[in-house]
Point group: C2
Chain length 205, copies 2
């Protein structure tokens, strides 16, 4: 079953909330509480959970651990998806920090940079390679997701190496839009454009 993108996003958000309660023995949660905490419609929440086969208990709500496991079965791979981060600067390592502590089926397998001071080191136990080894390491480590966190001028050439290496999904933080084949799942987040848009709406309100 392939779920709609928005459903997967919500399931991921449910789990990130639920995971906080997982050490509480026999914890239950109502769909309306889940909805309220995430600012969603309770009907939507119940529909999502029904879609993955969880109907909950009318009186007690949903069993947190069962629901957690069910979301995992639905949205995780059996094995981890392997990620690499291109750029071991502040942004790249900030992303690494975010992912490291999380209870998710994603694993950062490599980080790449051009700085000789960083190459050969490890960050959060992830080795930092020189960027020339991108293709080799991606194939060796079966990496499917790439995060681009380098200066914008290099984005296009790095993206084409990622494509050649068979990467399936790219998260691009530069301000250069990547023109990729539809088969690659692309997400882009341009910090400066986002801030400019925010400033514009502040000005107009």
């Amino acid at each position: 079953m392939k779920l709609p993108k928005k459903t997967v996003q919500r399931l991921s958000r449910y789990r990130r909330l639920l995971v906080k309660y997982k050490y509480v023995k026999d914890s239950f949660i109502y769909s309306h509480d889940l909805a309220r905490l995430l600012n969603l419609n309770p009907v939507q929440v119940r529909r999502d959970l029904m879609l993955i086969g969880s109907s909950g208990n009318h009186r007690k709500g949903y069993n947190v651990n069962e629901l957690n496991a069910l979301i995992g079965v639905t949205i995780d791979s059996n094995d981890y998806q392997n990620i690499c981060i291109i750029g071991a600067g502040r942004l790249g390592r900030a992303i690494l920090d975010y992912v490291t502590g999380e209870d998710i089926n994603l694993k950062v397998k490599a980080i790449f940079d051009i700085d000789p001071q960083l190459i050969g080191k490890s960050f959060n136990d992830v080795p930092c390679y020189e960027i020339g080894k991108l293709n080799k390491i991606i194939l060796e480590k079966n990496i499917t997701v790439g995060v681009i966190a380098i200066p914008s001028e290099f984005a296009t050439s790095i993206a084409s190496i990622l494509l050649d290496s068979g990467i399936k999904s790219i998260l691009n933080f530069t301000s250069v839009h990547l023109d990729l084949p539809k088969s690659v799942y692309l997400k882009e987040f341009d910090i400066v454009t986002t801030l400019e848009e925010m400033a514009y709406f502040v000005k107009c309100n």
Copy 2:
């Protein structure tokens, strides 16, 4: 004239491309080149530029410097919008780095943290204050945009201080969804949820 959100985003992207040509004397660009470089529809580009009063020259295309200035008049404030970044960790300082070099009408006026090692220092000439001074500094420096780049557990309480201080727009990088009044322009980007969604689609394709 209040432009649609998507139009503002595109205008901001045109400018970020055009700015690279601004030191070339008398440079012109065709709408179809602009469209191609940004992976947009040329008709869309012409419509956007006509909307802000630029029709271009049929033979030579659009004058880059004139277009740049016109976009500026349209989407920038007369004065800078002042921003603060909450969190002087890797992510907060990565954002600061991104914004610092850019030719945009946004200015980071303050960065906040709880770490005594960071408080009192400056990063890219932006002073780092203790987080207890958030309200005071926002009012003093007329800050309208706040970027939240701290651990998720503090997001809600920081957002409520930002609201009380009269902030108009918030960019939230934590995984906690903020439930704010409609009058505040909110953008959220949750790195972990985004990566999970990407991994899901890799698995399904």
